[in-house]
Symmetry: C2
Subunit: 218 residues, 2 copies
DNA sequence: TTATCATAAATTGGTGCCAATTCTGGTTAC
DNA sequence: GTAACCAGAATTGGCACCAATTTATGATAA
């Protein structure tokens, strides 16, 4: 647990420019590097991310506020174990929110936006072949972020990002099955198609199955 | 800013049993005791809530994560100034979420639930006459919480509570106009009526105008 | 009189240390 | 052989101090 992980960072992170410890820890949890149930000992994290004790404590406190890690007083923090019910509930919320603004996406869509989304969808495709798991993860996030931005509600983008982060654990492992990834990639393109055709019902349908079938974050 | 405020605490809080500082500060912001823009100096909060420096820092960090206070590095924290656009966006999100689960509320409603909601609505009414502003505030929260619980998605209850907290500031002042409060109280009862009659369209309509017309938290 | 600069006060934020609690391993009693 | 218990180690969490940055104040010069 205390081995050096800095090489696993995404290429765009220079080692010298220190990122926020909270983000580093968050990414390690999201990518499954630190699996559910893992005890997060302060001294280990301190060494692992080459940071100070207070920084570790702040990161742990923040993530426990977001219910990503569980805090056992006087015992420590551990990566939260996610139960199925919560996963389902969170998916439901995402479905309601994202299908709820589908009409606005269609209303605000422009040729430029279509082009951008197609580019992001293609980027996701590419990451399926080559690219680290984290790049893949980020590519997915970028696509969905751009899609949501079309709704014209920047607060919503934040809220969904936050909700999505609640459903960590059992994470990218599921992801790795080739079939699932390719299915997700196809759905990305289909969503852009529906958007371009201004087909509201189809877009809603796609969003729902896209969220539901890959329960975690597809 | 450094005067003692402990007497202003709600009656149910005993002075000796210390509550979490984060909650105390949160309530003072929500009730408008600390208006938007106020600088939250650590030493003042320390004295005001009779707590230690690290506790103050943790509270400030948590609230800045929730975007209730703004953090200016090396300068301090201040209560967040809310702009109109964000307020509108947050209302939109609430409308989407709460109308999005209206059908489930109706599906899950029971006579017992109706009775409970009526009781909570009446409690809100009563608080309009007598009762502190904070009791009033809490009564409103309790009603909406119970309503949302009907949807059968406990995660949603948390999410909405969190979102609602984002739109602090310009807070209970608006509230105080008698007309607005009485209108809200009426709508509470109307919502229970619609629920009892299982009238989905009407319930959705009520939820939307209820959220929109009292933009902050009605 | 006003603008600018230097100095001083105050506030934030980081570092290190220490107490309190919990966990581990070994020992003893039954 | 098993269970309970006790001592030692390790970890968490709070506390006090100190450095760095910023703001306020006052003096000096134009």
């Amino acid at each position: 647990m205390s081995d050096d992980l800095t090489e696993m960072l995404a290429p765009e992170e220079r080692p010298e420019e220190k990122k926020d410890v909270t983000d580093l820890l968050l990414h390690d949890i999201l990518t499954g590097t630190l699996p559910a149930g893992t005890w997060l000992k302060q001294i280990d994290l301190e060494r692992r991310y080459d940071c100070t004790r207070p920084e570790v404590r702040r990161a742990l406190d923040r993530l426990s506020q977001r219910r990503l890690v569980q805090h056992n007083p006087n015992r420590g923090y551990q990566v939260y174990e996610l139960d199925d019910q919560r996963t389902r509930e969170i998916s439901d919320i995402r479905v309601i929110l994202e299908t709820g603004v589908a009409d606005r996406m269609i209303a605000n869509v422009t040729p430029a936006a279509i082009a951008e989304l197609r580019g992001l969808a293609r980027q996701f495709d590419e990451m399926s072949f080559r690219g680290s798991i984290m790049e893949h993860y980020d590519a997915n996030l970028a696509f969905h972020r751009a899609l949501l931005l079309l709704a014209g509600n920047s607060e919503l983008v934040d809220v969904v990002a936050e909700i999505r982060q609640r459903t960590v654990s059992a994470p990218v492992s599921q992801w790795r099955t080739r079939a699932r990834i390719e299915q997700s990639a196809r759905e990305h393109h289909l969503m852009v198609d529906a958007l371009e055709a201004r087909d509201l019902a189809e877009l809603k349908r796609l969003i729902e199955i896209h969220i539901r079938q890959a329960p975690i974050r597809a």
